[in-house]
Structures are given as C-alpha cells and as structure tokens.
Amino acid sequence: MTARGDSPYALSHLDALESEAVHVFREVAGEFERPVLLFSGGKDSVVMLHTALKAFAPAPLPFALLHVDTGHNFPEVLAYRDRVVARHGLRLHIASVQRFIDDGRLRERPDGTRNPLQTVPLLDAIERHRFDAVFGGGRRDEEKARAKERVFSLRDEFGGWDPRRQRPELWDLYNGRHSPGEHVRVFPLSNWTELDVWQYIAREGLELPSIYYAHEREVFARSGMWLTPGEWGGPRDGERVERRVVRYRTVGDMSCTGAVESDAATVDRVIEEIAASRLTERGATRADDKLSEAAMEDRKREGYF
C-alpha cells in the first residue's frame, strides 16, 4: 500500500481514493435498508463494483445491481454485464426503456436519443423495489453541474435534485437521513477523475467491455461525432457509413455516445492518450450534454443520475 513518498505512511492517490470509496459503500450498507448499485457496464460502474466487492470481502455484496437498459445499448456491453453478474454471483435488476415505450408510458423523441428517457424507468424501479440508496458512478470532474454534487445527494419523492437545497457535507460524516418516499443518490467516485479511473483499472487489472479499446468498426459522422449505425436511427439520408479505427471513452446509449478516433488498444495506451487529451470525455463523446448550457443540471433536477 505504501507509495513513493517522503513518509512510509503516505498513501498513493489511488489508495486514498479507494479508501474513501470503500468508506462510502460501508456507510451506506450500515445505515440504509435497501441500497442498489447502478451498473451500466461502463468503466465507472466497473470501478464502483470492484471497490464495493473489496469493501465487503470475503462476504458477498450486500446489495443488488440495477441496469437501466435503453434498448439501444452496445451488444458488447450487455454481454460484458451478464458475464460480470454470473462471475460474481450478483443479483441484477433491469429497468427497460423499451418496455416503457412499448406499453405507451414513454414516447420516442424526434431526435432518437434515449438517454433522457432513462429517468422514468429508473425512478419507477426505485419506487417499485423501495430502494432507499442508489449508488451511481458519477464523478465531479465530468461536468459542471456534477462538480456541485454531494457524495450523499438527497432526492425528493419525485427523484428530483435541488442544487440550492443541498445539505452541507462536512468531514466524512455523511448524513443519509431521509423521509419515506425520498431516497439518496450516493457517488463513491465523486473525487475521482477520468485518469484516476483508468489508472485504477490498470492497477487492479480490471476487464472492460471491448469497445473501450481501439478497434475497427462501422461508423458515420453526425454533429461532430462518430456514431454506430443501428436500428436506433442512423445513418439517415446523406450520412455515409465508413470503417474507422475508434474507441469509446464513455459507454451509454448508442444514439448519443460517440466514438473517438484512436489506436489505443491497451490500457497503458489509453492512459497515455487521456493524459495528452485536450477534450473532456463528455465533450468528446456525449451529444446529450450539448443540448443546452445546463443540460446535465436540468436532467438531474428531473431525477437523472
């Protein structure tokens, strides 16, 4: 555990961040009745799950996973998700956007993106299963509204976030008290950056969905991003499919998650690439955050994670 440093008691920054995340998981397990961990198969939720497993080892994870499936997820990611669940003997709940569309409770948006539609099935699952704490992999470095987020974030009975009424969060004394119907979103990786996540993945030797590493695939250009063609709605007229060597920096709905051109095929090469990058991961690959200046804040107010 000892890092390079002046003191034999120094912790490396990764050990410090890991220790903090584990502390958060254990606080929630100690204080809440029905926590659940949001798991998308993306790198942040992979790191979150890994630290959670460490926090309670050698006992099994004392909570289940919840995946909000947009219906437009990358097949490689769904396969990865199911492998992980089987390997660790986890319990997985799935909230399906497609089912909500099929039975008329949600309507497809004209632009085809399903990312904002995840909020309704998510809140439905929270209410139906009476989850009182929901772990999310959100990091404060991702986005300016997330930079304002608490580690323990109280949500009202509609799942809404009110940034002006957040509880002050002092020391590591997290206050998870809430009224019936309310729940708390918990972000154990709040203080991690994209680079921290990748360095931790390298250190711990974690497997990720293959689309995080450079590979050749069919893509087409839209709004300055390389998108994957599919039944979700692309390419349209005038959009040309071509084969390029790309990788993904984030994993989300296919309709709004863009690939970046990259030849980084290993974790070490990805770390080099991110360290030199001049774009944030969301700036590079997320269309939904570009909808307006406060797009993330507005979605979070509605109950988005």
Binding site: P58, R140, R167, W171, V260
Partner: protein, 457 residues
C-alpha cells in the same frame, strides 16, 4: 473527433500519470481580490482546463456580452449561479501535475455562505487565503484565518495578490506577511507561507516572476506540490470506528467475523491489545485485511477490516482503540459549532448527534456564547444560533460517546447535529475548548475597519 491533438498546451509540461499523492485544499478570498483569476490560472496552466471546456466558457461569455472569457463560468456550474453571476455552492475541481494530484474546494463569497466555507475547509489540508496587496490584512482576512484555525486546517498560505499594483514592492509584501503570520500564530495556526503574486499576469502562480527577483520562495503551485501533507501517524492514538460487521456465513468462510472501518487516526498493528468502546471490553487484534491484502500494520486513513481474538459483541458505532490509550466515553459534550441550517438552534432542542459511525439522541443544554464575526469575540448568551453562526454549545447525550477533542483529532473530534424529524443537517460540531482567538479575546474588542461585508473560503 480525434482526442490526441496536442496543440494549445501552455504553461508547464505535465505528466499526471506519474503523480502519486493527493492534496485537498480550499481557497479563500473576497469578490474582487482575484480568487477566480488565481484558480483559473492554476487550472489553466496545469492543463486542467480542456479545449471543449474553454470553448464552452468563451461561448457563454460571448452570449453574455463579455469581451474576454469569464473564468468564473468554469466553476459556477449551476443555472442560477450563471444567471446571477454569483457562486452559491462549493464546487470541487480536480487537477494534477507531475508531482501531485489536487482536489480544490472552491467556495462562495459571502457571510451568509459560512456553512459552505466550513464545508470546504472541513476536508482541506491547506487553505489558500488571498489578500489585495493594496489593502493588506483586512477584517475579512482575519476571518479567513480564524475559520481555518477553527477547522484546524494544517497549512495556511497567504497569497498577496496584485503585486503589480504596488510596484512589486518587497516592503509592502513583507509588512503584510509579517502582520498576517503574527495574527495566524495567535490563532494557533502552526504553518503559514506567504507568497507574492500577480494572478492576472500569472506572476508566481505557476511560473516564477522576473518582477519579484527579491523573493526566494516557491510559487503557489510549487508550494502546493511540495507541502508535506502526510503527518507521521505514529504519534496519534489509534481510533477505529466500526462501520460494518462482515459475517459471510458462507461455506468458504463459516466463522469469519471482521470489523470493517476506516482508521480515523493513528496506527493499528496485529497483536495489539485493544479496547472496544463504549462497552470497555478488551481483546487482541489477530488480523488486519487491507482490502484484499493481509497486513501486519495499517494506518489512517486506510479502510481495512480487523479481526479480534475474542468473540465480543461489537457493532456499528463502536470504537476500537488501543487499550493503553482509549478515550473516556462521555455524555456531556462541550463544543464549538457552526450552525448550517436555516432554522435556528435553541436551548432545549432535541437532536440527533452523529459522531464517526455512531448516531445518538442528544439535547442542547446550553448555548453559552456566539462568535461575533466582526471582531472574533465571544458574546455571551445568544439565546439561539442562526444560519452561519459560530458559537459554543453544551450537549447531553442519551448514550456515551468516545469523543476526542477536535484539537487532537479532526476525525474523532467532529460531529453533526441532525434534526430527528426530517433529517436536516443542523450543525457542524468541533468538540473541546474554544479555539485560541476567541478564548483570548473574550470581551468586545476595538472595532476593526469594515473594509468589506462579505467573506468566502
């Protein structure tokens, strides 16, 4: 669409992948003393403002009719903040250099946001206080220092900004540094570093200034990179609040019983004799598991799981400490507090007290005094504490607490008061005697010149 472009990098060359240690720090400064500029320059020159963020800020600034990019838009992330041009809440920023990674708590600028200042300072290992070289140490500077002292932030940096406007005068800097260091010393602040800078031009923020050739010390960033943040934990008594009891009851681990927690202070060793509080039973540590690796020794702030030789009744909320150096559990608590809720705190209020992993019922027996922020004197019998007030409280708890003085431990000396009705966080508490400034200045002091009406941290 490519992310490997390397154009546009200015300032120092960075290799964040090599950074190993982590420094948490908070900034303090009033609206016009250049805090945003300094933060913006630290972020920009350490390559932490990326092209798309800068582009978004430039775009938003143009929409608002500004000539130049308004770097405050980098940290003012909320719709209301951008609309009103003010900072409402703490923003956490992250940046890295080759030597260290940083978590910066950037907090808002007015007396009504003291709670946010306290929030930012509670986890900070260093506070960066800005003053305007033309004005020197003002009332607000004293408040910043006082709150850093109250929260026991170990390192204080005074950045004397706008040196370009005082002709880079060594005498001006020396006078301000001396006055501030003496004042901080009277508050019990152990370590003060004063640095002359011009944030606007970037002098001495990241790169040394040619204008300040009389100054032989570090730039702000050099100091942030090199300040020692790892104290030797062997000098502190070990404190291990039990968070969670791990009992797998699986075929592989039928008899495993581990106590999971984060070491709050000090060092724990296998073979050590320990006491479990509040029961007072003793046992011996037989194993320490540091997240997958069995170790013989572990220290704060590691999250570990420990096992004991005896099958004691140990639960969440208990505290494990060396048998030879365990705190005496108490039910009467005296503390300095910062009230953070909108509803006031009154004598007789029934509250919940959260201390480490233990939450107990408590009653507010007395409110002996309130700190007057204008002269830092304690005024007796305030009757109630309102939002952002700092004062003294006397509490009686329903169950004993293994509480240390906050002066001895920022972790096991801190607590929250919580409204039992709706869970609102009411008050941030620091157990023990009043802090140096207030105890030494009990009466009404001579009025200080009121050069500003706000403070931030």
């Amino acid at each position: 669409m490519s992310i490997s472009s390397t154009t546009g990098i200015t300032g120092i060359a960075t290799e964040p992948a090599a950074a190993t240690s982590l420094l948490r720090f908070a900034t303090a400064g009033s609206v016009d003393d250049g805090k945003s500029t300094l933060v913006g320059r630290l972020l920009h020159d350490s390559k932490s403002v990326l092209a798309d963020q800068l582009e978004a800020v430039e775009h938003a600034s143009r929409d608002r009719g500004h000539d130049a990019p308004d770097l405050a838009l980098l940290t003012d992330g909320l719709r209301a903040e951008r609309e009103q041009g003010i900072t409402i809440d703490v923003a956490y920023r992250y940046f890295a250099t080759a030597r260290r990674r940083f978590v910066l708590a950037d907090t808002p600028g007015h007396v009504q946001y003291t709670r946010n200042m306290v929030t930012g300072a509670s986890t900070a290992e260093l506070a960066l206080v800005l003053v305007d070289a033309r004005h020197g140490v003002v009332e607000q500077t004293r408040r910043h220092a006082a709150v850093a002292a109250l929260l026991r932030v170990p390192h204080l940096v005074l950045a004397v900004n706008k040196m370009d406007l005082v002709d880079w005068s060594e005498a001006v800097f020396a006078r301000i540094a001396e006055e501030f260091t003496a004042y901080a010393g009277s508050l019990g602040v152990p370590d003060v570093t004063a640095i002359p800078v011009s944030a606007l031009a970037g002098d001495n923020v990241v790169t040394p200034s040619a204008h300040l050739d009389w100054y032989g010390g570090p730039t702000v960033l050099e100091h942030l990179e090199t300040v020692p943040v790892v104290a030797d934990p062997t000098g502190d008594p070990a404190r291990f609040p039990v968070q969670y009891v791990i009992r797998p009851r699986t075929t592989g681990h039928p008899d495993y019983r581990g106590y999971a927690g984060r070491i709050a202070s000090g060092v724990l060793r296998v073979g050590e004799r320990v006491t479990v509080l509040p029961s007072g039973r003793t046992s011996t540590i037989t194993a320490i598991d540091a997240l997958g690796t069995p170790v013989d020794v572990a220290w704060a702030p590691q999250s570990v799981t420990i096992r004991l030789a005896d099958d004691l009744d140990v639960a969440r909320g208990d505290l494990i400490a060396p048998a030879a150096d365990a705190p005496e559990p108490v039910r009467d608590v005296e503390a300095t507090v910062c009230h953070v809720a909108d509803r006031p705190l009154r004598e007789g209020d029934r509250v919940l007290l959260k201390h480490t992993t233990r939450t107990v019922k408590a009653v507010v027996k007395a409110l002996p005094s309130r700190l007057d922020p204008s002269d830092l004197a304690l005024r007796p019998s305030p009757g109630a504490l309102s939002a952002n007030d700092i004062g003294r409280v006397v509490l009686r708890t329903a169950e004993p607490l293994a509480l240390d003085d906050y002066a001895a431990s920022r972790s096991t000396g801190a607590f929250l008061l919580i409204d039992p009705a709706d869970g609102t966080t009411l008050t941030a508490g620091m157990a023990g005697p009043a802090f140096a400034a207030a105890s030494e200045r009990p009466g009404p002091a001579a009025a200080l010149p009121a050069t500003d009406d706000g403070w931030d941290f």
